[in-house]
């Protein structure tokens, strides 16, 4: 990796160049948006060990000049078979650029799924301004501490706008695939609004490979109006050399339900931030996460549940498995505002270390300003149970297989909850081969 990097200048310059490159301007509003966000990026610093939010992960950051190149559409895209077609609505991005020929958009008025580049200027501006934190709701993480959202904004190539109209229950899954390859940074976004009483399943899959250096940035905004329900499955199967920093921000209104299933596999640098804001009474969220790292990989889960309103419920279950010399971070923040009385919150993070050189840093952060709340949290870090291993082996099962079964068993309960059979089976297979490889090499 090239050593010197003047951050954020290289990124700022690259963004400016992008905006002057006639050949690469797909829509005027895109330029306006990127320009309007540049000042954020200009203030950014590269996180270090002393940046609280990056304490455990800054050492995995390997930002170089090469990575600062905004990715163009891959010319001969080798979209591999990492993706499975769920036979629902399909939105494909290659290097952050919408691939119309690979996508399958709805043909009725019941549901809007459109790439940003196909939106009118007004609509695009409206979408992007809603998605960007407004002045009165300052982002919990200042961009100076979290430069990747700013990079994504300054590099934004396209995105998808999904709107599920009032009382429409979309029975087919809405699948968004991000494929990256080559050298540089990709930047796309997802923006979803579920109107009152709407229901849908959103699946985000990330895949790709590189010979050099590649960074995927992703920003997803989900807005749940009254009584709506969104099931959100997120899966990254990118080749491990690819760095990936993504953020999902969710806002929930009255009686809405948000259920997420985030499957994180390790890589050079991997980070996913999931932020849920419960702003009106009766909103409920359940956040499940499964995270597996091997070799020298890394994965950082940052979750934040903000109980702004009274009478909301949140539940969180994250299970992490770290083998070899890999490293997992779980940072679970729950913030209960003063007015959020009758809040019920439960957070659990269980971790399994497969080797003595693996590392897991888990940190629950509770900030409770209301007095009438129930908020439970628990974290554990353990190893495979010798007695359980022995029991399996006395039935003729090899020690490798026994260890694989127990390790998969550790996350199985969460995996079984994934509400799409095809994706769940894909995840099961992927986890199985990963875990098998962890024990086979010994």
């Amino acid at each position: 990796m090239s050593a010197t990097l003047s951050f954020p200048n290289v990124f700022v310059d690259a963004s400016k160049a992008l905006n002057h490159d006639e050949a690469r301007i797909s829509a005027p509003w895109l330029v306006a948006f990127r320009e309007s966000q540049l000042h954020q990026l200009e203030q950014c610093l590269l996180p270090t060990r002393k940046t609280e939010d990056w304490r455990y992960s800054s050492r995995h950051l390997k930002m170089s000049d090469a990575i600062a190149k905004p990715l163009t559409t891959a010319t001969k895209s080798t979209l591999n078979n990492d993706f499975v077609d769920l036979d629902g609505y399909l939105v494909v991005f290659v290097n952050g650029h919408f691939a119309a020929d690979r996508s399958r958009l709805p043909e009725n008025a019941e549901l809007t799924i459109k790439p940003f580049s196909a939106l009118s200027n007004e609509k695009a501006e409206q979408v992007l301004s809603t998605a960007m934190p407004s002045a009165d709701s300052a982002p919990a993480t200042p961009p100076a501490q979290f430069p990747f959202t700013a990079i994504n904004a300054a590099y934004l190539s396209d995105g998808v706008y999904i709107s599920v109209p009032k009382n429409i229950k979309v029975d087919k899954p809405i699948q968004v695939q991000f494929h990256s390859e080559g050298e540089g940074t990709s930047a796309a976004r997802v923006f979803l609004v579920a109107e009152q009483g709407a229901e849908a399943t959103l699946i985000e899959e990330f895949s790709g490979q590189t010979q050099t250096e590649l960074l995927t940035t992703s920003v997803t905004d989900i807005n749940l109006k009254e009584q709506s329900e969104i099931r959100y499955i997120r899966l990254n199967t990118e080749q491990q050399q690819i760095s990936h920093v993504g953020i999902t921000s969710v806002t929930q209104h009255r009686n809405s339900r948000f259920k997420s299933y985030c499957i994180g596999l390790g890589g050079t640098l991997r980070r996913h931030d999931l932020k849920v804001k419960l702003v009106e009474p009766g909103a409920e969220c359940s956040l499940d996460g499964v995270c597996v790292t091997l070799e020298k990989q890394h994965y950082d889960n940052h979750t934040e549940i903000e109980h702004v309103s009274a009478h909301c419920q949140s539940e969180e279950n994250y299970r992490c498995i770290a083998g070899d010399q890999s490293h997992i971070v779980f940072n679970g923040r729950i913030m209960i505002h003063r007015d959020a009385q009758k809040t019920s919150g439960a957070m659990s993070n269980k971790n399994l270390l497969l080797s003595s050189s693996a590392e897991i840093d888990t940190k629950p952060e509770l900030e409770i300003y209301a007095d009438d709340v129930k908020c439970a949290h628990g974290t554990t870090i353990g190893q495979l149970d010798e007695e359980e291993l022995y029991y399996l082996v006395t039935r003729g099962i090899s020690p490798d297989n026994a260890a694989t079964m127990l390790t998969l068993g550790f996350v199985n309960e969460l995996v079984q909850k994934i509400p799409n059979d095809i994706i769940r089976e894909k995840i099961e297979k992927r986890l199985e081969s990963l875990i098998q490889s962890a024990f086979k090499e010994v």
Binding site: D385, E387, E388, Y390, Y391, L392, V393, T394, R395, G396, I397, S398, P399, N401, M405, L406, L408, G409, F410, V411, N412, E413
Partner: protein
């Protein structure tokens, strides 16, 4: 089938088995009785291959193959099955997945093909009914949330699925009511054949009313101090262990 000579074993430096001699021929059922702490579970675990125990002397062979250095899984594949006194719970691994992996591991060792899904399910359902457990248990985690009696019946269920050459039952009868006891006994009797052998570790004579042993041995302080026919069990029931010169704990 099984030949044990002068077997000695210790755990954490304390010698528990102090020279066991035992020969079990094909088709035989042996009962091992003895007070608490005499080493019955230790003997069972040592035969199954629990690495927490160190074998400090003697020999044990199954069909002429030495067990001492044989890995635990290979012993199972050679046909040893231990029904645990205290089976562990394994949430997250379903009984079905567990049984299928076990059966296929054993079949692979024997150079046989994997069992097909249909006959596997058929057999699993049949055997679980045989031990009077709800077939819904097949989908649950191994022993997860099972009562003591259900765990014991699940051990028998596994035994029936795996059809071992040598089954070792470590106090499978303890804590069972009479109906469950009959289920266990029926299971063992169903497996009995001229090629298969059973070692039953038990505290009580009552199991032996249902599974009639060919031999009864008394284990005390790590040694077999008396062997006899099935009448020995009745005698123990009547007189306790005192007459053999052992303090009962």
């Amino acid at each position: 089938m099984l030949k044990i000579s002068n077997l000695q074993a210790s755990v954490e430096g304390t010698q528990i088995l102090k020279g066991i001699d035992l020969v079990v021929r094909p088709g035989e059922v042996h009962a091992i009785m003895g007070p608490n702490g005499s080493g019955k579970s230790t003997l069972s675990q040592v035969l199954a291959g629990n690495e927490a125990y160190d074998i400090t002397g003697g020999e044990a062979t199954l069909d002429g193959k030495s067990l001492i250095e044989m890995p635990t899984e290979q012993r199972a594949r050679e046909g040893i099955f231990l029904a645990f006194q205290y089976p562990v719970e394994i949430p997250g691994v379903s009984n079905l997945q567990f049984l299928r992996t076990a059966i296929n591991s054993i079949r692979e060792y024997r150079g046989e093909e994997e069992i097909d899904a249909v006959s596997f399910m058929k057999r699993a359902k049949e055997k679980i009914k045989q031990v009077n457990l709800d077939p819904a248990f097949l989908k649950r985690g191994v022993n997860e949330g099972f009562s003591g009696g259900e765990k014991k019946r699940n051990e028998i269920m596994q035994m029936l699925m795996l059809e071992p050459k040598l089954a070792i039952l470590d106090e499978t009868d303890s804590g069972l009511d009479i109906d469950a006891l009959k289920v266990v006994a029926d299971g063992v009797n169903a497996l009995r054949s001229p090629e298969r052998s059973v070692i039953m570790v038990t505290h009580y004579q009552r199991l032996l009313d249902y599974i009639v042993p060919d031999y009864v041995h008394v284990l005390a302080k790590g040694k077999i101090i008396k062997s006899g026919g099935k009448e020995l069990a009745l005698e123990l029931e009547e007189k306790g262990y005192g007459w053999l010169g052992i303090d009962e704990e």
